[in-house]
Amino acid sequence: MSFRTADGTVQAVRGLSFHIDAGQTLGIVGESGSGKSVSTQTIMGLTLGAQVSGRAIFEGQDLLTAGAAQMRAIRGAKIGMIFQDPLSSLHPYYRVGWQIIEMIRLHDHDISKADARKRAVELLKLVGIPQPETRVDDFPHQFSGGMRQRAMIAMAMALNPALLIADEPTTALDVTVQAQVLRVIRRMQEMFGTAVILITHDLGVIADVADEVLVMYGGEIMERADRRTLFAASHHPYTEGLLRSLPSYGGARERLRPIPGQPPSLLSPPPGCPFAPRCVYVMDRCRTEDPPLLPAGSEAGHISACWLPHDTAARAEVRRRVTESEPAQSPASPAGQVDAVDSAGA
């Protein structure tokens, strides 16, 4: 899919394919501008004016060709959404409970007002809002950040959707509140068998909750693997770079190994692999041909878009060679290294 902008056509997402089964959590991880949010917004028909090609089959129906009325019936009822900033997704002028009731009555025309209200209270209780019977009449500003996000979850889950799309649901929250919210999502998933697509930039959250993980960069999928494989035996150099740039949790404090350079512009994506300009393993072929997603390693379902050998042993050998030939990191020079790449990329 692409957007027309004043500066040209932005190719926000290219060649994205994935599937998700009921009760599963698919994590999509990537940095700003990797296309991780825009891809799910497209599925939901929320990217007006975008040029989209492809298909998005949900319960046998193609969402990309569905009409506006059909999409309205699906949004909220069958696919729930949670966004990063709960304050901007809740209407400040209406009571929290009213907004949940409205949501329920919009899709369920038979339910009485009193029953919908009872259901709203039940939902707020379910997501851990204290004294839901009274808090249901609060305005959004009377809720704390974590409570607002939990109210959003209550609203998204009001009609037992088959799929919940959570776009950075905990990014604006503190760690202790984040733990609460993630637990509520997990609990709801266990209770209702909801499939969850969790979009985040936080690899820690991914390690905590995702079954399968998609790594996106420059609008493309770089790698897909189950959670364990991704963290223990990643194939793609971008995934490896992401994991290496995290401060280690415990253990010795080594110098961090950032990925040099800046993310690419999507206005004029380079012809080859989008990660090539920042990749330590880059080969001539990477700059001209975009590698396809092919099976990697020994785990089923592990795919990676990279020209490096897809056999585990051969990949490890390449990694060893490159790591050894890396200049010994002296504390004085690296800023200079980054400098060189920065100015080249800018």
Binding site: E31, S32, R119, K125, L126, G128, P130, S144, G145, G146, M147, D174, V175, T176, V177, Q178, A179, Q180, R183, V184, R187, M191, F192, H201, D202, L203, G204, V205, A207, D208, R227, R228, F231, A232, G241, L242, S245, L246, P247, Y249, G250, R253, R255, L256, R257, P258, I259, P260, Q262, P263, P331, A332, P334, A335, G336, V338, D339, D342, S343, A346
Partner: protein
Amino acid sequence: MSDVNPVPGAASDDEVLLRVENLVKYFPVRSAGLLGKREYVHAVDEVSMTVRRGQTFGIVGETGCGKSTLGRTIARLYDVTSGKITFDGKDITRLSQRRMRPLRREIQMIFQDPMGSLNPRRRVGSIIGDPFAIHGLASGAERRRRVQELMERVGLNPEHYNRFPAEFSGGQRQRIGVARAIAFRPKLIICDEPVSALDVSIQAQVINLLADLQAEFGLTYLFIAHDLSVVRHVSNTVAVMYLGKLTEIAPADDLFTTPRHPYTGALLSAVPVPDPDLSDQREQIILVGDVPSPIMPPSGCRFHPRCPKAAPVCVSEVPQLEPRLGDGPDHVAACHLPMAAGENLINFRPTIDELDRVVEADGSVLPGGAVSEGSKS
């Protein structure tokens, strides 16, 4: 309060760059009625700490705990309500703006939002050159030369002197902020969430840059952040803040391996770990409820309404920051019932009755016991 000086480590005076004693910062808020009592936000309450030269002192805490206010009060961007700040042997608590000015060169700040702290309509060269202009130290070609030197030092291309902030990426903008801060080789840089707005790969670049500059110029950092793994990585000493109070101060590794304060323990357990095996093994302690209002902070230990170990003494008595359970003078905690090494908070229930259950292990009932697995709707 008696003359407590719960400063970890009796560091000698010339080792210490910054000493904060019983620092208090209240903000007045509008009172409820015409005759209502004037109320205050207790943003920073009786904070004492010592920052040594050439080291990094990390402050962690959640939104609204007062960590940014603490940093800004130390930089004298806010007036001090009470207490004492000694910087480089000088009492700067009550210095006038005019007398503070020469010291501004020595205390610099780096802010979270690089875009919000850079004027979008001014060119980068003139933004970084500001300190030279303000202090009248260099002008014309000389200023340009020094600015370009700085840009090069922080990993920016000096040819981009005439660009606007919008033409830089987030990481590069933060480098601009860093360049401006190090212009005069300050003694202390207060970094307020310097990397939280950046992507992981870029975040690591900026952290490394800060480390290089520290090694090169012997800088001292006060590093304020909410990301515990980042704070652990950069800091020598870490202080944990909750609702305006420091709850624990310890050498970074000690704090993460043997936290004494239950709040530290809960905070550490809530951090998602990028390691599936580790995150599967550990039992998360999930604090229930929200941080109380800093206008009416709870009595005694401010953490008691959410603490799994809360006992009557925690409600009635304010715990002091002091070494607990045989810790050295470097590791102090403000807790009546500190955690022993390896202790699991999940096994504790508060022995005060004024509240519902406060903490539960992952996998038990939801807050308030609202849901059991059977009550599916």
